[in-house]
Amino acid sequence: MSDFPKPDQLLSDIDRKPPQMDWMDTPVTIRKGMYCYAANPKSVEYTHLPFPHQWNPLDEDWKLPENWQEILHEGFKVRLERFRSFKLFMDICVRCGACADKCHFFIGTGDPKNMPVLRAELLRSVYRNDFTAAGKILGRLAGARPLTMEVLKELWYYFFQCTECRRCSIFCPYGIDTAEITMMARELFNLIGLNIDWIATPVANCYRTGNHLGIQPHAFKDMLEFFMDDLEEITGVRVEPNFNKKGADILFITPSGDVFADPGTYTCMGYLLLFHYLKEEYGLDVTWSTYASEGGNFGSFTSHEMMKRLNSKMYAEAKRLGVKWILGGECGHMWRVINQYMDTMNGPADFLEEPVSPITGTKFENAKSTKMVHLSEFTADLIKHGKLNLDPSRNDNLILTYHDSCNPARGMGMFDEPRYVIQNVANNFYDMPPNTIREQTFCCGSGSGLNAGENMELRLTGGLPRANAVKYVHEKYGVNMLATICAIDRAALPTLMDYWVPGVGVTGVTEMVANALILPGEGERTTNLRGEPLPGMEDE
């Protein structure tokens, strides 16, 4: 009996309060459920990135090259010289705290190192130590610390707890873009082979076969043919999309998630139906490509060079096929890359024409240089000109709200077009509270390559602020469907809803369009694209 602890001892083991110490002294503990698995060395090797190796974040030894500190120091230096913005972001933060409580990961996890200011400070402290006079002389007094193995682990852990959503940046009085700090940190990790597999393998696949899953051209076409069969069953109409058609007017590119993952697949069926309608009614000539079969660009979570490489194949394919311009599907970071980086990386795309809708004559001035138009913009324009024959009552069983996907919202300022489309194809729509939508939208918690299975706790805590706002409209208005225009959202949000707000489904906007679209020569529609009965058709 003497071995048993006394009641007081037992209680003292239940540590209720966290240690109160300075952040520099708070050790990092890499917790299961909060990190993604290490990159498969084969994927790293395939894209010729340095130091492919087998390692495990939970291990003491990360098996780094001997001179890893030197490599990172040099890499840091090169990036400070190359990117003026990075240098500024390292220097100008006054730690006012405006961003501190704006990050979904801080709000959800309650971990202060997820405050954007502190997350950036993790890297800034190394910057001060290595590159500023004050840091070199005063050390810790000036907020500087050397890059030890412990510090590296901390950097790695927290910069893979940022989805590069940029919500914090809109609150920063200096306009510091924390997402770009994260991009730089991840570039540095890649110099010593420390990527995560959910990014490295999709990048390798995309580089090799054109899409994240590494699906080859014939299989990609097969998948679309399955959808064509399903659509024929639902509408009585056989859609016949073009594949790799040379001389087509428009090349359509969407994330491969739409082709392979539910419920994005229904959005993909929506694209097929919409293009069929436009071909029949107005002769629109759109082609899909089985080579540029991915809009998503996981290269942007790896390095600038990788982002450029993956982005370039879309334009190479547009050139090869000789199309006039590119139409882009419902994707997230594809649009950030196009809108913010493409033009200086691979642009201007002079060989393409300035996009004009052949149906309405609308010039898409905003896409003058990139030559790439967003499908929601294109569809909103069609609706505005009365070019679509729609029956919104087919979506009457749904009460919708709209999640502004971070990248189209904050990365390109697209707020109204998707809402305009939804409100014209459905009768029941309610927005979430103002501080959770439009430019202040909360991230799904799974962006920037963090949509893995092993980091489920991270994803669910990061998604809490978004889910909390959905819960509000679910309880107040009976919202049962969350519409969005990003493939990561469509993959991640169903799980998020299942945990926080059961009873709310997830859809793409074009799926809603296709449900409402009356096709020429269609049979009586009794089900929606998911095979569920349309309102009033429950007994059919």
Binding site: I14, D15, R16, K17, P18, Q20, R31, G33, A100, D101, F106, I107, G108, T109, G110, D111, P112, M115, A219, D222, M223, F226, F260, A261, D262, T265, P433, N435, T436, G453, E454, M456, E457, L460, T461, L464, P465, N468, A469, Y472, T495, D498, Y499, W500
Partner: protein
Amino acid sequence: MKLDKLLSQHKNVLIKRWFDEVVRTYPVDTASFLKQQKDPFANPVGNTTLKGLEALFDVLITGMDREAVNSFLDPIIRIRALQDFTPSHATSFILFLKQAIRETLVKEFHDPDVITAFMNFESRIDDLCLMAFDIYVKCREKIYQLQANEMRNTTFSAFQRAGLVKDVPDEDVPGLRLLTPPKNGICNV
């Protein structure tokens, strides 16, 4: 009865003390955010916790309807089951109410009736803590289930569309009968 009256009279102070103790389970910078930010959409953790504690306090006085208690407890535990807490750490905040009452009503404990009533009240708090643990376990199970579902859906749907999944009637599966437990519980094999 006297205790109930005292608890109702000191409700605001007690809930404040209870809430303060709960937020002190978070790091100090986080705790001040959880207390100060009143917007429920900017601070879902703090607001969900406070709203839940208020409702639970009322339920403890008026009586325990299991379903109602679950509906107030669940949102708090659902959050704490994901955060960086041990199981005991995630659920023990219920017990903090005992200390809050002891400290607030210390002068009233000379009355034997109040002491007896308080002992009963403490048992209710203990019950609440046990219910919290049940919810905690359900939340953890849900997290594992979500992980498994995602993995299954990723591969299953792709295989199904590619025509690689075939429904096979149970009787055609060799050995399946042997693996299925007989209804009477007696295994004949």
